[in-house]
């Protein structure tokens, strides 16, 4: 393929795609970056915001297991909610008396 001809075909002037070049393997609709969805802030969906009383929490793991967003992170030391991805479904709140919900402001 001669350079400059890409995306046109030799001697083929039938098509004009302004400002777009042929991008080869990069122009294929696949997503190459794993877990890139973390860039999206689905925390904005929240109407109610869960809060964990981490002092009283017994680290049973229930909230962490059942959170559909994987937004609850737990270690022996700490338990916290990733509010950029918690959608506020309330499952954790519903499942544990140490988690409470407040209306988002």
């Amino acid at each position: 393929m001669r350079a400059g001809d890409r995306g046109r075909g030799r001697g083929d002037r039938e098509m004009r795609i302004i400002n777009i070049s042929y991008d080869g393997a990069n122009g294929v609709p696949v997503i190459r970056e794993p877990a890139s969805a973390l860039k999206n802030n689905t925390g904005t969906w929240r109407v109610f915001r869960p809060t964990i009383d981490s002092d009283r929490c017994v680290r049973c793991g229930k909230c962490w297991v059942f959170c559909p967003e994987g937004a609850i992170h737990v270690s022996d030391a700490d338990i916290w909610i990733d509010y950029d991805h918690c959608k506020g479904c309330g499952i954790c709140v519903n499942g544990c008396r140490f988690i409470t919900a407040q209306r988002e402001v």
Binding site: I31, T42, W45, C60, G61, G70, I91
Partner: protein, 299 residues
């Protein structure tokens, strides 16, 4: 039960291969089911998805997955799994092949393709996440929709009984068939483990309560799943070599109305309707009890 099996919630692996930031509804247990399954299957897993709610997990240019994922269409998870099995073998890639498709894509439009893979006993794990309707298109009747449930195409309630997909899969004589529900994660994930261990096709029918389609608050999904099991409406069992084995037997079954009344899709039911359902459920369980909760269905 092998040592590697989970005994309690905290045995569940920490690593997530499905992360947040995607567009599944608030409180979606279908995405929860996948998140959990991937925890035990681990990073050496390739997911094949059939069109449905989960198809919108990756939306260009971002994906919430840390494992390879492919979606081709709604009706071909089984066929894609078959091909992928051979392709990965040729490429010397050792990985679990996980089919993750909805009930519509499994009981209805993808049944044939799944049946083809089952006939060849392809070594894959097929989880049908079952929200009992075509969810992504707005909750239309599927053959998986339970009798009496209203959907957007059966506003007065579905007439026919749901297809018994686990029985159909068992009739394909694949080595492993099970039902599960994310509300019982240890049970579910041990089944996923067994499914991965089995050589050949494993089918898991995973009940995923869907707040939107079923009509309940997103916070209640886990409870609704528990009620489905505790009322005896959704039975947890495995079928290995044609033998059915219940993996959870509610000590005292809760009344079905508790489950039904909690959901908009059953709100049109009269007390008699509910009574009739209760009777059916009771009858079924009496039969099971008589069999000691374990029996052959295939000869």
């Amino acid at each position: 039960m092998k040592d590697s099996y989970l005994k309690k919630l905290t045995d569940i692996p920490m690593e997530d291969y499905l992360v947040g930031g995607h567009v599944a509804c608030q409180g979606c247990s279908a995405s929860l089911g996948l998140r959990l399954a991937l925890k035990v299957l681990g990073k050496d897993t390739v997911v094949i998805n059939g069109s449905g709610c989960m198809t919108l997990l990756p939306v260009y240019p971002t994906t919430p997955l840390r494992v390879p994922w492919i979606h081709l269409a709604i009706e071909n998870t089984g066929a894609a799994g078959t091909a992928l099995y051979y392709a990965l073998r040729r490429k010397n890639i050792k990985a679990n092949i996980l089919g993750y498709a909805g009930d519509g894509a499994t009981y209805d439009i993808g049944l044939q393709s799944l049946s083809g893979a089952a006939e060849k006993n392809i070594d894959m794990i097929y989880i049908c996440y079952n929200n009992q309707s075509f969810g992504n298109t707005g909750h239309q009747r599927a053959s998986s929709t339970p009798r009496a449930s209203s959907t957007s195409t059966t506003p007065g309630g579905k007439v026919e009984v749901e297809k018994d997909m686990p029985a159909i899969m068992a009739a394909h004589r694949i080595p492993y068939v099970a039902t599960a529900c994310p509300s019982y994660p240890v049970d579910f994930l041990n089944k996923v483990k067994r499914a991965a261990e089995v050589k050949g096709m494993a089918y898991i029918d995973l009940l995923v309560p869907c707040p939107v389609g079923w009509g309940f608050d997103p916070s209640e999904g886990i409870d609704i799943g528990r009620l489905a099991v505790r009322t005896g409406i959704w039975k947890l069992y495995e079928i290995v070599d044609g033998r059915v084995n219940l993996t959870y037997i509610p000590k005292k079954r809760r009344g079905v109305s508790e489950y039904l009344r909690a959901q908009g899709r059953f709100s049109h039911l009269s007390e008699e309707d509910i009574g009739a359902i209760q009777e059916e459920v009771d009858e079924a369980w009496e039969g099971l009890e008589a069999r000691g909760y374990e029996y052959e269905i295939m000869v």
